[in-house]
Structures are given as C-alpha cells and as structure tokens.
Symmetry: C2
Subunit: 125 residues, 2 copies
C-alpha cells in the first residue's frame, strides 16, 4: 500500500493577535511557507472576517495549505497537505509557526489516499 499524500493538521496556539488578524500578513506567511517547502503555487484566496479572523487557502500543485485564525484566542487551525516525495509538509509547518510567533503547537500527520496495489494476476503453476 502507498499513500498519495501527507496531511499535517496543526493546532497553533499562543500566536500574536496582530498577526492573526492581519489578512496581508497571514497570506504572506502562508504563501512563503508553501515556497519554503518548495511547493508550486497555483491559487491563493484569503478572506477577512468582521470583527476579526482570517481564513485562507493556498492551492499548490502538491495539494494545499489552509488556515483559519481566531485572533482573540491566539489560535490558528492550519492544514498542510502535500503529495509526492519532493515537498515536505513539515518544512512549511515549521516556517509558519515561527512566523506566527506560536507559543505551543500540536501537530499530527495523517496519510491521505492509501491505495491498494492491483491484485497479482492468478498464475497457473
């Protein structure tokens, strides 16, 4: 069996309110995190909520990065999902948690797309 993708779900606590509430900064950090990991960016879309909070996604050739921020709680839910051998989701994760000045990060990697190999053909011996 092989997995097509690696999906890191990061619970990012203790971040700066100002950064998490600034759509330009959040977008810049997420885009740079993708580039830091060597990903190829395809689409970028971010949204600012009122009175606070930012949601956004960077679609990459290798899958996506997503973020939702709760500045009032200093918390961000971050996903880094990558396919292929070339890009390591943890490189992006390390970059962005540093830039958000996170005090505490709980992150887990989940395999996505575990595909069974084709059954071996029956052979008459």
């Amino acid at each position: 069996m092989r997995a097509l993708g690696r999906h890191v779900l990061a619970e990012v606590y203790g971040c700066s309110f100002e950064i998490l509430n600034d759509i330009k900064k959040v977008e810049e950090i997420m885009v740079k995190a993708a580039l830091e990991a060597g990903a190829e960016i395809r689409e970028v879309c971010f949204h600012k909520f009122s009175p606070q909070g930012v949601s956004g996604v960077v679609v990459i050739s290798e899958s996506h990065l997503a973020i939702h921020t709760w500045p009032e709680l200093g918390y961000a839910a971050v996903d880094v999902f990558t396919c292929g051998e070339r890009v390591n989701p943890w490189d992006a994760c390390r970059y962005l948690t540093e830039k958000f000045k996170a005090a505490d990060v709980h992150a887990t990697e989940i395999e996505r797309g575990v595909i069974e190999p084709p059954q071996a053909a029956a052979v008459n011996l």
Copy 2:
C-alpha cells in the same frame, strides 16, 4: 474544554473518472455540498491539472471544504471543516460522495481548536 471546529477527512474511492476530471462539475458539487449543509460561501477557487486531476477549495464563513482528485484512481481526498453549531460537516460529506458516485468512503471526524477554559480565579475561603 470545547472544540471550535469539526473537521471531516474523507477518503473517497471508486468515483467516476469523468466527474473527477471535470473542473466545472467538481466545483459545482463542492459548492452545492457547502450550501446543502447550510454554509455561507465566501471564496471559491479551483484548478485543473494536466493531464488530469482537479484541486479546489470553497472558503465558507464556517471554515472550508477542499478537494483533490486523482481521476485515474477514482479517488478524491476531501476535507469538510466547519465551525459553530449550525452547520454539520457530515451533511456536505454525504451530498458530495453521492454526487461523485463513490463506491467506498472512509471518513473520520477530528476536533479542531480544543481550547482550555480560563482557570478559575483563586478564592480565599
């Protein structure tokens, strides 16, 4: 402790090649899945890969839906992440797996943003 969000990670197998490779259909299904669950759509961005495959995200007020398709494997990696009590991620999940004509779905729900309540103030008795 309370969780801010519910994140369903769905491994969707045995889907129609034609649907998974059609960016318009994939986008339409994902947007309708969000609406089916009662979510409020904020941003929609999809990308078609060559020779095959679609990646896309629907950013909603309640978080996001994301998809990456491997039409040649009949497989899609789907995320439905919602916050708040009003929207149930499983409603979106059920809708889209039906529309993709999935033969098999493995889905898991993960809590996101588990925030500790503030410590009770010390009281002199």
